[in-house]
Subunit: 386 residues, 2 copies
């Protein structure tokens, strides 16, 4: 395996009734800004649990962080942090709320003249200081609760870019799988696909003699494939919800990617689809992933064949054939959850989308994937075939 | 799965040439005490690498920490820390050196009147403060490099007890698998057995619907079984050494035990064998584990059968029969590495050992294992059968 460095100081508090532990986790002296999204936490009881747990704390609120959190929205929270002297951010919601809160944490400590999106997201200047942040995570999907990354969009330029720095690790993340009982099916499925593709981005590259990392990556896929149908069939199945949530967290807490090459091309192309057409992140991945794997089948054949055999039990000795079967089975798995996997399912013209993305990648000189093999032309082919 | 909390702030720096990174990891202002064992680091080049990396630092040394580190020895280091104003401990060696250094870190901040062994190990008073510590770990075995536990012996009373507290996490651990090329075969094998049994202690209990944790535990066993023969056959095989080391770290960094019941009876009985007869820790585990699994076969049958099928590829539908095969295969695996698994192989009288351990457990009211089923009588049976 390759050399690696790993550091994750986030405390995970996992299980039933864990929101009540907030007072053990945040110092009483803190002035807290609770950040949240469209208000679902006020319907499913999470908001009430958080407020009850934080009785006696000095708390302000900032709602309205969108899916694919927007720079324009987040800067309003930064203004509140600065004017009100907030010294602790508590994100209550899904990965978008948490990602947005990571950006707020960084931008609240930034006093430069450039706008914070240009400074952090375009120029990728390091975040050396950030406001302490933590979360009550309500959606198993992004893994943001145990990593130091975030993806932030800007409306004015149709951009969606990622950043990743140590000060952005949450101090703690509370994961109570019960809060996912009331999730709409669509969000549950989006999260499962997101998790699945996170694992693929880290596993499905080329072999560097990392058998434990590979086995663990496939272990997440095996678990997801078994547990996902249970949460669709019975949304109140605590055990299955807990397993799906833990898969999501482990899908992007870096444990499976230590010392191995990574891909992330599906995400990068998917982000463009979301930026241009506003489709959900999970949907964009489900559309692109099968086509990207097919496009890169030769270079990924060893890993895809291993996946076919060790996850789907395929008995095919020829790697390229087994790889083909793996891609089919992945798309079938997505479809089995009710996830549609074609651009036409979302009324998006493939030719137009392919051209738009080719144009942007060509301008940026993009070369994606573990070997930099996915340039503007390859991206065109992948999107066109979708 | 059960509720759990997880926190591990240790930075892992893994790979070739990583000892040279020490100056990036320790502040120049620190006064460092390097702790080490019997001096093998002076023969294999590790000491020299560390000293070179720390050129310009204020460094003292404390050597002579034994396998199964002794309270009596460690307190001499505590005297040095206190008299010399040491403010950073750097353990350079295996798990015993690191465990011992964790005790030094705790005892150096303890100013009470009781002796530190009684206070921390017998009474299990919490460690609320400890000197910062880190390590260059040279032996894949204990996993101490990524956990907050330590096992400390006291000569005067033949005791060997464990403690585990958050301030005992290393700040960082440097893992360069190259340093294991020169390990004696015996130590390599001890470490592999130790890792294997760590995984068993966390996996082989009863089912709590934790499929990911179970899959990952078995993933470590699968990897070990493939990689261990390679390091025995070719001690300089970097890839295999790296995989074995990462298995050892992941065998006890708690990732596979989150939300699941744990056993640890093999370790507790093994510790007594080491305390009474001075045999290696790995040897004690190899002797006890097969007998303990056989003794507890009925209650562990589901997990043992799963292991038989998913690690050893056994095609036996009846759980109890598959469990028996699993135990045989585990002992065969240990033997295949050259590890002897019977008390008689070490000239220890089974009846005498069984009586001694029964006596001590009876006095302490011991009830070990995930269900507390291993009392003094069961321990007698297990040791007698060994």
């Amino acid at each position: 395996m390759n050399n690696f460095e790993f550091y994750c100081p986030t405390r995970i508090v996992f299980g039933k009734g864990t929101i009540a532990k907030l007072p053990e986790l945040i110092d009483k002296s803190k002035k807290i800004l609770i950040t949240y999204g469209g208000g679902s936490i006020k319907k499913n009881g999470v908001y009430e649990q958080v407020k009850n747990a934080l009785e006696g704390y000095d708390v302000l609120e900032f709602g309205g962080i969108e899916p694919n959190p927007k720079y324009e929205t987040l800067m309003k929270a930064v203004d509140i942090v600065k004017s009100e002297g907030i010294d602790f951010l508590l994100a209550v919601g899904g990965g978008s709320v948490l990602d947005g809160t990571k950006f707020i944490a960084a931008a609240s400590k930034y006093y430069g003249e450039k706008d914070a999106y240009d400074y952090f997201m375009i120029e990728q200047n390091p975040v050396t200081d950030a406001l302490p942040l933590a979360d009550v995570i309500t959606l198993p999907a992004t893994g943001s609760e145990m990593n130091n990354g975030a993806v932030i969009s800007r409306i004015s330029t149709d951009e969606k870019l990622a950043f990743q720095w140590e000060p952005l690790y949450p101090q703690f993340s509370i994961i109570d799988p019960q809060v996912t009982f009331s999730l709409p099916v669509k969000q549950t499925v989006n999260g499962i696909v997101d998790t699945f593709v996170h694992v693929m981005e880290q596993y499905c590259t080329y072999d560097v003699n990392s058998p434990l990392q590979d086995d663990w990556a496939l272990g997440i896929l095996r678990t997801l494939i078994k547990e996902a149908p249970k949460v669709i069939a019975n949304p109140d199945d605590y055990g299955a919800r807990a397993n799906v949530f833990w898969c999501a967290t482990c899908g992007l807490n870096y444990w499976i990617s230590l010392g191995v090459p990574q891909d992330w091309a599906t995400h990068m192309i998917g982000h463009e689809l979301t930026a241009f057409y506003g489709i959900d992140h999970g949907q964009s991945l489900a559309i692109i992933e099968p086509r990207l794997l097919r496009n890169q089948k030769v270079s990924k054949s060893k890993k895809l064949a291993k996946l076919a055999r060790e996850v789907f039990g395929v008995n095919e000795p020829v790697d390229l054939k087994a790889a083909d079967i793996a891609v089919d089975k992945i798309e079938t798995f997505f479809n089995s959850l009710g996830m549609k996997t074609r651009l036409s399912d979302y009324d998006i013209n493939a030719e137009e989308a392919a051209q738009k993305i080719r144009g942007r990648f060509a301008k940026r000189g993009t070369a994606l994937g573990e070997k930099g093999a996915i340039d503007a032309e390859a991206a065109y082919d992948i999107v066109k075939a979708s």
